[in-house]
Amino acid sequence: MFIAADASLFALLFFQFSRDRSSQSVVFDEGQQHLAVLLGTVNTLVLVTSSWLMASAVRSLQRNAVPTGMRLIAGTAALGLVFAAVKIIEYVLALRSGHTVSTSPFFMYYFVITGIHLVHLMIGVVVVVVVGWRLRAGIRKPLDRTVLECGTVYWHLVDLLWMFIFPMLYLAR
């Protein structure tokens, strides 16, 4: 329920972005030129890999291969932190070249949407770590299963959102 609601906020953000974009396409296209598409692509790969690791972690824990599961969860969290680091580098690069949240409507959306996504990602990293901690002895109760599922679904949401954000901001003309 919560995840559905969260997704709908992002849907609203994307909708508003699209509306503004279609009315000011020149400004938006111009702004887009300044984005580091390479870094964005790297981040996409990082996040997709982390989702795959998380899914593998779930499978491992279901088979009671706990040490493997723990390593995979640690990997997921680590990749999450890598994403954050790359994002921060991107922000610094943008700010250094004089683009801030008030430079243009495009940059407003860029910073706000990726910023909100980054916050969700940082929460996600914490969630993944907490899930890993809670399941360090494997799945022992039905509640453990729920916790694992919910944590994984949240992480996949973070990934899925980026799958929309990346093309929308970085690629679409």
């Binding site: 919560f2 969260d6 953000l13 508003q16 409507p105 909100i116």
Partner: protein, 247 residues
């Protein structure tokens, strides 16, 4: 919950209407806040509007400030119902009380800035604008207190282990999510126009209207809960009387 308490709690549930209707008319209509004038409006223009409409603005904000009295009543009633709903220790119920009352205070005090601007609108337009800005900074950035009572409510409702919970789980989750949406207000001070400014989609329409609707739905369940809690109390009382007389 005793019959007397239950009746008072139900009255408090009704207070939501006594809050919304005068507040909606006073703040929204007479106060010309739905939608608000954008932060990008020049001071001269804003001051002119305040000069032209001083009478209605004055009564609007005065009425709106008074209407928040019923918000307080509602919060107190909600608190009492949550006390009976909460499993275990009662800290979350107190959080609901404090959060609710402070949210009412936030609403009330912000009206005083706009009221003051309407009181003496012939003064320097820059001052009118300052008061207008102050009201919005105050109203929007105190959102943390609303988060307190909405999340407190949500957690209590989620932890209710009754077969038929007093409040539905979806209501709890929606409240928690709406509370999290308020965090977008954090970036409001950066914008004088656009969807993230105080008059924009994400920092006006989204944080005000869905939560208002949610409050009304909560009030309906609050009313029913007060009734049920009294029934629970009465049947428990009857059971104990029977036990002692037949034991």
């Amino acid at each position: 919950m005793t019959k007397n308490e239950s009746q008072l709690a139900r009255l408090c549930a009704w207070a939501v209407a006594l809050y919304f209707i005068p507040f909606g008319i006073g703040w929204g209509l007479l106060g010309r806040m739905i939608p608000p004038y954008p932060a990008s409006m020049p001071a001269e223009e804003l001051a002119q509007i305040y000069r032209d409409n001083a009478s209605t603005l004055r009564i609007g904000f005065a009425l709106a400030a008074f209407a928040t009295t019923f918000f307080f009543m509602w919060s107190i009633g909600l608190f009492r119902v949550m006390l009976a709903t909460e499993r275990g220790g009662k800290i979350l119920s107190y959080t609901v009380l404090v959060g609710g009352v402070l949210t009412g205070a936030d609403l009330m005090f912000s009206c005083f800035f706009w009221l003051t601007a309407a009181f003496r609108p012939e003064q320097d337009p820059a001052l009118i604008q300052l008061l207008y800005d102050l009201g919005w900074m105050w109203l929007d950035l105190a959102f943390g207190v609303a988060m307190l009572y909405m999340i407190g409510f949500g957690v209590i409702a989620l932890r209710d282990t009754r077969e038929k919970p007093l409040f539905p789980k979806w209501l709890a989750w929606i409240g928690i999510w709406l509370a999290m949406e308020f965090l977008l207000e954090l970036i409001m001070p950066y914008f004088r126009s656009g969807p993230f400014s105080w008059s924009g989609l994400f920092n006006f329409w989204v944080p005000f209207f869905p939560p208002a609707t949610w409050m009304v739905i909560v009030s309906v369940y609050m009313y029913k809960a007060a009734k049920r809690l009294n029934d629970e109390y009465e049947s428990e009382l009857a059971r104990r009387v029977e036990e002692t007389t037949t034991g």
